[in-house]
Amino acid sequence: MNSFWTVVGFTARNKFRGKAFLITTLIIAVILSIGVNLPYIISQFDKGGDKATNIGYIQSTNVEAAAGTATGDSLKAFYEQQENAKLKLIAYPDKGSSEENEKQLKQAIKDNDIKGYLEFGAMTPSGYPEMSYKSEKMMEFSLTENLTGALQLIRQATILQDAGLTDEQVAQLNAPINIAAVQISSAEGGRTPAEQGVNMGLIYFIIIFLFMAIITSGQLIASEITAEKSSRVMEILITSVSPLKGMFGKIFGMFTVVLSQVSFFIIVILANVSLPHNKDALAGLDIDLTKIDPLLLAYAIIFFLTGFFLFATLYAAVGSIVSRTEDLGQATMPMTIISLAGFYIAIFSLSAPDSMLVKVTSFIPLFSPFVMILRLGLTDVPFWEAALSIGLLLVTIYIAVYVSAKIYRTGVLMYGKRPSWKEIRKAMKAYKI
């Protein structure tokens, strides 16, 4: 056991000391801090930008343009009524000809008085004239949507008023209708939407966390083993410490590294979130960590650990087959694809957690850490199914550890000349792990 901890300590210490590791960790921490504070930073910049966008139109006494002027006026009134309205209509006097009007409005854009202007045409059955919004920018969809929304409201209000409805009736028509979605279970009570939200968040977090941990540490474990092989330290190591201890010392060392790195990131995020200016944003999200189901948390930890160690073991095996670092990327590709597949099945099934694909893959060991936790969090899974999935995982881990340790031990043989399968089998039989 002693030498196991020696390997763990050595692996972790060298990683922590490595400049590359420290620098990437710091860079990611900085990016995270910026990310968390981004809404606040943007809002700081936006203070001046809260000013409404000015839109011009022609206010004319001409009969032909009456409908257009009326529409413009009603929009102007509508936005003036609103607090913090995003748009503001500005009326310009009629200069007589459309050319002169256009010239006037274009000059206003040039002078930065308005961003664009509305032009009115012939009357349409909608009750409004034909309209076009002209500005120097392309694709002003959000602005035109805002305008149509406003016009719809104005029209609705006018019609309702004409119909002679009371204010109460109008309010009733406008009141929103809500349906609360409560997930129920045949066994116990149910989960309220808030609890579901927290569960969803936890699952999201666990799946991403697991995926990140697997990808980063798996690659590191494999490359460290390959580096040991190519620098031939492996020959000394393997004659110093039993392969199982050597391999698991490495995996466990890397596990502590990844865990402390991720913990550091979480602390950075939490520290940033708890800064005074971010308080409001957090409150708005309605996250109540006490609503996390403790059983789900326990499952999450189990699936995280089993998933991590299964993948880590397999990465270690891949690392010991390859003898040069250049070949490593290619060799770890299948593992990366498998973890990606598990990750995507889980992420894309967040909205359909009871599909057949999810049900089947939640029992397949390499996918189940991602997928089963999704099912457990979002649907009602019988206990035996969860137990079976964990059981299958554990059996697979046992086999993977056994085979990987053998490969790790035998991998030393595989320099240059390719050993035959028969030879590998014989060697694997011969060495104790």
Partner: protein, 300 residues
């Protein structure tokens, strides 16, 4: 009980036999030479002794016991190629490797400092291996093999890449280890080192043992076929003596090939008749000659 006994050990790679029934014993305080041309099976044999690869036949016993994890801490290994972490500091990795072989951190550190001092490079303690020259890396590699005080050390090409001064330094260290009772299995291509260090040797050729025994015994088996003769004046007619196979003129005088030792007397008498003889020696064959003879003869 001998510390290391190798008996009828065989190793096959596919169809090819890498080592064929090799047997030898290494006593306490002995340096055993394992010689052979490139690809003769030396490294394979050493790897089997280390437990790095598994023999297909025969047995290897360490103090009478078969290979097991308990034996690991008694073994030291100096690989032919560099086997160190390039980017890790000397102190970190030597202490780590010693700890893996069951030594305490403190003892490992004390030993490392002793060895660095011994090799006159104490400033390497905090250096990374990749910063050192090849020869100095070899010193560190040597320390890695001996730092945990193993009772059996396997040295594959221990002195490669070293300058003559450092070769002497390491050679005297190896002798010290031998005198303190360590058993050393030693391979090299430098025959003069073998003659200086080893009591017994095995010469491998194409996976087979071709010569085996103590250097003295081996030399006795090979006829003395060379006479060194130095005289004050020139001597003529040496070629015509019956039994002389050839005469070479060297800086120091004549090097004469003979069929058997008896011819030596004839040469001496012949030379003394013509001049004053300052040096006369019937040379025993060098290991180099024996090696070339045994390995070279079978090359065809």
């Amino acid at each position: 009980m001998k510390p290391l006994v190798v008996e009828q050990v065989m190793k096959q790679y596919g169809e090819k036999t890498a080592v064929n029934n090799i047997s030898f014993e290494v006593s306490e305080g002995e340096i055993y030479g394992l010689l052979g041309a490139n690809g003769a099976g030396k490294t394979t044999t050493m790897r089997m002794v280390l437990g790095l690869i598994y023999p297909d036949g025969g047995s290897i016993k360490y103090n009478g016991k078969p290979y097991s994890n308990e034996q690991l801490s008694r073994l030291g290994y100096l690989p032919e190629e560099r086997g160190l972490y390039p980017k890790i500091r000397v102190s970190d990795q030597i202490i780590y490797l010693s700890q893996l072989r069951g030594m305490s951190r403190k003892d490992a550190d004390t030993n490392l400092k002793y060895w660095l001092e011994r090799f006159e490079v104490p400033e390497y303690y905090n250096k990374r291996v990749e910063e050192l020259s090849k020869g100095n890396q070899q010193k560190i590699q040597f320390i890695a093999a001996v730092n945990h005080r193993p009772s059996i050390i396997i040295m594959d090409e221990a002195f490669s890449g070293l300058d003559p001064v450092n070769v002497e330094l390491l050679k005297s260290t190896v002798k010290e280890l031998r005198d303190s009772g360590t058993s050393i299995l030693f391979s090299t291509h430098r025959m003069e080192h073998v003659e200086e260090l080893c009591r017994n040797i095995t010469i491998l050729h194409r996976s087979n043992t071709v010569v085996k025994g103590s250097i003295k015994e081996i030399k006795k088996q090979y006829p003395r076929e060379r006479v060194i003769l130095t005289t004050e004046n020139d001597v003529t007619g040496l070629e015509s003596i019956s039994g002389v196979t050839g005469v070479k003129l060297q800086e120091y005088g004549y090097e004469i090939g003979i069929q058997n030792e008896a011819v030596g007397g004839e040469i001496l008498r012949h030379a003394m008749a013509q001049s004053t003889v300052t040096r006369f020696e019937i040379k025993e064959p060098t290991l180099n000659e024996i090696f070339i003879k045994t390995v070279g003869d079978r090359h065809e």
